[in-house]
Subunit: 132 residues, 6 copies
């Protein structure tokens, strides 16, 4: 099995709902350093899992809709408790939707799965993996 | 599949038994930067794999019993060759025992597995994964 | 010249005032991974610049007053454009005040300066150095 | 499941063939920081997945045949588009061949798989996993 | 004293002239992860050393003239032994020239110096600092 | 001003003397990831601060006398409280002695200073700088 990973980041405000979150129930924020990993059984005719340049552009496009925002006020996230793991799923789902729409090129139809990892600090991170 | 990882560290002395270890048969030491990863199929009602704060406390508690010690003299490790990979198992087993005891909260009963990674330097690390 | 550095982090919401900030004028947030470096010409009688444990506690105490907050609403920061470099100064000033008050121990009176570095992402950080 | 990872690097020139590569069709180069991960179900009698010293030597030996070279002129890579993911496979295959030849010791026959990850920058990396 | 640092990278081929370089006399290559640090005594009216967005664009522009190239054939580098430390100076000089031309904004005229650090691997890097 | 840095590591046992050290008074250990930085005003005729290969060998030679040992029993360190900052000085002094002896080549006589940084974990490190 092969994989390719690209990294970018976003900077957001948000608050979390639920007693378990303690002080994180207050409005605060995070830089999420985001890794998107694309997995595939075989390489394409160019020797690629996915073009790193294109993957980078796709990740940037998905993060552009989230960064420099207060996620508590994003209509698309209404009702979502924006934990690190839940945001990993949001980003993975959006990347998957774009990949299915052809944004990563035709050969990318062979991709098996995508893993999105959000690093919220140097001591904590979360991931979500889903099929493509 | 979701995962959440938290990081901490411990600083220990030890020696390794066996010709394969060469100079590491002498009493020496290591800082182990320890990553504990909790894996789970679905998020709980709060949108969590496990609360990062609680996971951090659990990892700290497990490492508190090992750090600032000479592992060669720890009764609980008698007969264990304390290689990096063997220590990863010790820590994973202790985290698993605590999780089963409820230390990570009730919803943590849904956790599928824990992975513990010990970084012994910038150029070597070892992991152990086990079910929860 | 000797130095000792300890690392911790804080997670805050804020917005920046001024056209130069573009989208960062919106309410957003950041994880700041914070390094506090203490510099000193000679070691004390224990062979220390400053005790790492104590330095870690001091940094944690300073960050505890800022983390999990919306900095736009912090009275102590009223009128401050909370850029990364300005926050580095705020934290360095607070550490300096505590050090002068004796929180780092008597020998810490020999410290020459403190440097505070805030990493706002994997691709950008800022520092401020001041005398102690 | 256990794993042990060792890290080294190589510095090579190469060019890539295909319109998808844009400017990377020109002769350029890369530092690949290379992680080799060995996976195994149980530890051997010494408490090891594989001896870290030996694994480090094996990885160094494999990289010594590639580093400080122009890969476009390496006979062994003729016809290979030397993408990051394709190079991960080349290195994994060479490590596997050496392991089967006994270079990692007899107990290493129990290894299940090897994963090779090549970091081409701080924002992109690729992996290949294969059985041993 | 304040500083702001931004990070980017370039991927180049080159060879080095001189017996001291051993195998690096052959055509090979490197990824240089490049940090550009801008230093300044006081913050400007916006609370900035330099706008991180603008600094990032300037660094990208300078690296765009070098990346995905064989430095042995760059007319601008004719006669330069392109060691890591020499390339740090080339990049710092180009950033300085652009800064003096106003590319970082008027307030950037107050910048005292720029430091450029090139990481050639996880175990070696070089820096050059010059006044602005 | 130019600098070149190389990185290696050592793994040692030791204990610290003095109430300030709390649990670190017990025999424990550390991995020190060690960075040696050589500083110089101008480049030599080859375009170098110091040859990275030679600097790497020198650092390895100095660390070889310390690694895989219990520092409490090293005659050369008798009476030294082996704090991270004190060990940084020991290593810097040994590198300086070797450099003056010619181990880094004749041109290295132009080096101005050496900085040694010991990372004891992902959250704490110490440095010592001295002239050459």
């Amino acid at each position: 099995m092969f994989s390719v990973t690209v990294r970018d980041h976003m900077m957001v405000a948000h608050s979390l709902r639920g007693d378990v979150f303690g002080p994180a129930q207050r409005l605060h924020g995070a830089t999420y350093v985001v890794d998107a990993t694309f997995r595939r059984r075989d390489l394409d005719a160019d020797g690629l899992v996915v073009d790193i340049g294109r993957a980078t552009e796709e990740l940037r496009a998905v993060l552009a809709d989230l960064t420099y925002r207060n996620l508590d006020e994003e209509p698309a996230l209404a009702g979502v408790n924006t934990t690190t793991e839940a945001l990993a799923r949001v980003i993975a789902d959006r990347l998957a939707e774009r990949a299915r729409g052809g944004s990563l090129g035709g050969a990318a139809q062979e991709l098996e799965s995508v893993v999105v990892t959000l690093h919220e600090s140097h001591v904590a991170w979360a991931s979500y993996e889903r099929p493509l």
